[in-house]
């Protein structure tokens, strides 16, 4: 069974999740503060600009991070793969007592 992750899917996920989540935070915070304090400073252009910039930066960081985790970047030369004969400790499956 092939793993279904691809760079295209990672890019799509990084962009959509960054936009959705950061605007959820912005709108949620603006709504709560407006509802509770009547505060309107979050509706000015500066907080909106911070949200847009953070969304773009996080989408890029998110995509590159996923690519690095999934070994799509780099050669893996920092590690060597060595064959060994070994025993792996496995948890014993506990069966319920019949008594």
């Amino acid at each position: 069974m092939e793993f279904s992750g691809t760079p295209k899917k990672y890019l799509r996920f990084a962009i959509i999740s960054s936009v959705v989540f950061n605007f959820y935070l912005y709108l949620g915070l603006a709504a709560v503060l407006f509802w509770h304090n009547g505060a309107t400073w979050l509706f000015s252009w500066k907080p909106l600009l911070v949200t847009v910039v953070f969304t773009i930066v996080f989408a890029r960081v998110n995509y590159r991070w996923m690519m690095r985790l999934d070994a799509q970047y780099g050669t893996g030369r920092g590690w060597t793969l060595e064959s060994r004969r070994l025993k792996l400790p496995e948890r014993a499956i506990r069966r319920p007592d019949k008594n």
Binding site: S17, L25, V61, M66, L69, D70, E90
Partner: protein
Amino acid sequence: MLEYIGTTLAPYYLYIKFVHVTAALGWIWSASTAYAYYLLPIMKAWRRNPHDAEIIPVRDWAMERFDEVVIYEHVFFPIVLVTGPMMYIAGGWNAGVAWLDLKLLIVIGLFIPIEITDYYMSHFGGNKRRIKASGDMVRFERAMHRHWWFFLITSPAVMVYGLLIVLLAIAKPI
């Protein structure tokens, strides 16, 4: 009722905070070393050599062990969730505090859904050891892939927003 709870808990605020901060640090960091230095090198080796018959058993073993590595994390998380509201009430906090609102929005919108999924995949229906014991190796492989997808899509957000909530709680920048 809330006033009564607040008055009762208020003298213990700093002790509740001690438990909350200790549990939050345990929740954030307890699995990080095993993840970074044991699981990741193996998963990357698998992704570079997806059909290597010697890597796949190690991948399976590491992921099965990781289902247990997160036990501490999953004990600490409910403690954070219980002590957080206790501090909120005891400290007389309200929804007009921006740093706290942002922190709670991150916890509710990101970390609670992630942890619910993680509980399921590590200890309940997605537990790899139990799936393997059932003998259904197609389901086992699918669970393995799903868990790797989970790590791929959550790791960046967990690191960035996890650090952000610690920053918000300590520096209170807004």
